[in-house]
Symmetry: C2
DNA sequence: TTGTACGCGTTATCAG
DNA sequence: CTGATAACGCGTACAA
């Protein structure tokens, strides 16, 4: 059995209220008594009981982070940013992922205990699951939504300006690289990131007077392998002066590049390939990948920051923080403008 | 204010004990009463209070996971495995990282509350920090150590048989590829993984009658970039028939390959390059990377599994689970034995 | 400046 | 099968 506040009080010859004061608001207590209490605390290795404390304070010091998946560097970086910021704000981070196919039931499982977490940062990223608003609302918890906004709950949000990023990329291809044909390789059609990027693709193509052919639009699963296989089949057909592939993430772009090269299609000479996110992969391809930088870790950190702010001040009006997504020109678009950053 | 057990009791016209029984051990209560109580629970959207519950049960249902860093796929996969298993075991996962330079003080910060977590999974991976045993012991918590064993605490452990993996790789280079010279590129000298891999490197070289030259041993920081820069400088000097680079992780191996190719050293023809871990990078290099598969996500899952088992049964004797590390032969060693798996 | 006593919401014990 | 009541450990009015 570990020591309780009462044990400390006895050893220091004071009442438990004094001990409590020493722990929480030292100023209110005589310096000498204070020392005695602290000595007792150390001697007994006393640590306050989290439950008893939470019961009074109605705060656990824990914030939850729920992601749609935990695979890959994209989520990994969000977690890293969130974790660091949580520590900064002196909170603990409870991590969970909503697996595909999870109903609201098993969703709530982790949060079915009342009071366990002080707030929740949640990323959905699939339009299939957009109905969780009311479910979240029933939690009666400060909510921060990442990379989206959700109907049916009041919440803060940190969003990436994907549209601007995707527009910048498409304009770069069309204006600077004089693209004549652009193939789009996205993730699932229900994925909101893919949707935003696809829309920008269509818009710019249209404005440039280019056709967005149906046969130039693919929806894969964001993985290197599926993109590689696709490129093996199609790359030679895609090849041509000022022909480009716009992949919705870096991993697929890398897969396309490898698949193209494997079928003797030279990148970027015969086919330009660009990605999205600027994960580490983007610096590991040859040629180096032209992509759009998404500040993933900053997104995670900002989410936790907003969350803790709201926990401290619940009545603030909802905040939406927008983070920029920035074009990063490297080699795989073949325009020779390496290192240049457009916005 | 959210509903308490008392509110439910009143609404259902029973005592709080009955409500409690309905929640925890339904069998002991009359079916009809049961229904009435459950109706009340739904009507009031009652959720048990985590603190009051924990105060009685002395269990939070939370397990902690502390990693030395959160960067990169290695840790990301451990987290993923751990998270999935935690959910499987109906526990929540509290994630934290011990930043370099953290003293035991700020270490404990996250766990300074007594009772918040039911057990702790820790990975240290640097010999600099091996003194945390006693610190962990003072937590009086079930402890599982990942990829290491620690003096001064009783704990379960899940370890990767790195030595076998590294030996298999080195033997493959020496026996099958007829290596005449092997350059070792590791992480920090204090890193335990690097140490294990280095030792296997030395042992096999020695047994094969080959010299482990000092100038053939490098200690970098596990990143692609530093390995790339090193290769740019050294690759041409390293090149030669049956010359190899054994990198201590896949990212560095990828960096070496890219650096070598950039300086017109052909891989694997002029220089073989092999890695470690079998992260996704290993399938994204060209040539595909020969490496050692480390079951990262399984390690995370096993750790949480052991932890929950011990929480349920605290008096079991300590368990050490060893996971195999398996040689994966692809293209970058140039032996033409692709797909073959040795042990 | 310090101590007393109550209440937070739950489970466990024991008596009906 | 059900209800009353005592813990669990802590924060905080309120009294001294």
């Amino acid at each position: 059995m570990s020591a309780s506040i009462e044990d400390v009080a006895k050893l220091a010859n004071v009442s438990i209220s004094t001990v409590s004061r020493v722990i929480n608001r030292r100023k209110l207590v005589n310096e000498e008594t204070c020392q005695r209490v602290e000595a007792a605390i150390r001697q007994l290795r006393y640590r306050p009981n989290a439950f008893a404390r939470g019961l009074m304070l109605r705060k656990s010091g824990i914030v939850g982070l729920v992601l749609p998946d935990l695979h890959g560097e994209f989520y990994s970086e969000i977690i890293r940013g969130a974790s660091l910021q949580a520590r900064e704000m002196r909170h603990n981070l409870l991590l969970s992922s909503a697996l595909p196919g999870d109903d609201a039931e098993s969703w709530l499982a982790a949060f079915s205990q009342h009071g366990l977490i002080d707030g929740l940062a949640v990323m959905v990223s699939d339009t299939m699951a957009s109905g969780i608003g009311p479910t979240l609302a029933e939690l009666h918890l400060p909510i921060v939504v990442l990379d989206d906004e959700i109907e049916g709950v009041e919440h803060d949000a940190v969003i990436i300006d994907q549209r601007q990023g995707a527009l910048a990329m498409m304009r770069h291809l069309v204006d600077d690289c004089r693209a004549k044909r652009v193939i789009f390789v996205g993730g699932l059609e229900t994925n909101i990131d893919t949707q935003a990027r696809f829309k920008a693709y269509c818009d710019v193509l249209k404005k440039a007077g280019l056709k967005a052919h149906n046969e130039d639009q693919y929806h894969l699963d964001y993985t290197y392998d599926s993109a590689y296989r696709l490129a093996i089949q199609r790359a030679s057909a895609w090849a041509g002066q000022h022909h480009y592939v716009f992949a919705a993430n870096d991993e697929m772009a890398a897969g396309i590049i490898a698949g193209a090269i494997a079928t003797n299609v030279s990148v970027p000479h015969d086919l330009g390939v660009v990605g999205f996110d600027d994960t580490r992969v983007a610096r590991m391809t040859s040629p180096l990948l032209t992509t759009v930088r998404v500040p993933m870790s900053r997104m995670g950190a900002t989410a936790i920051d907003l969350l803790c702010q709201r926990i401290a001040e619940p009545d603030r009006s909802p905040a939406k923080v927008a983070l920029p997504a920035e074009l990063v020109v490297r080699e795989s678009c073949g325009c020779g403008m390496n290192g240049r950053t457009k916005d």
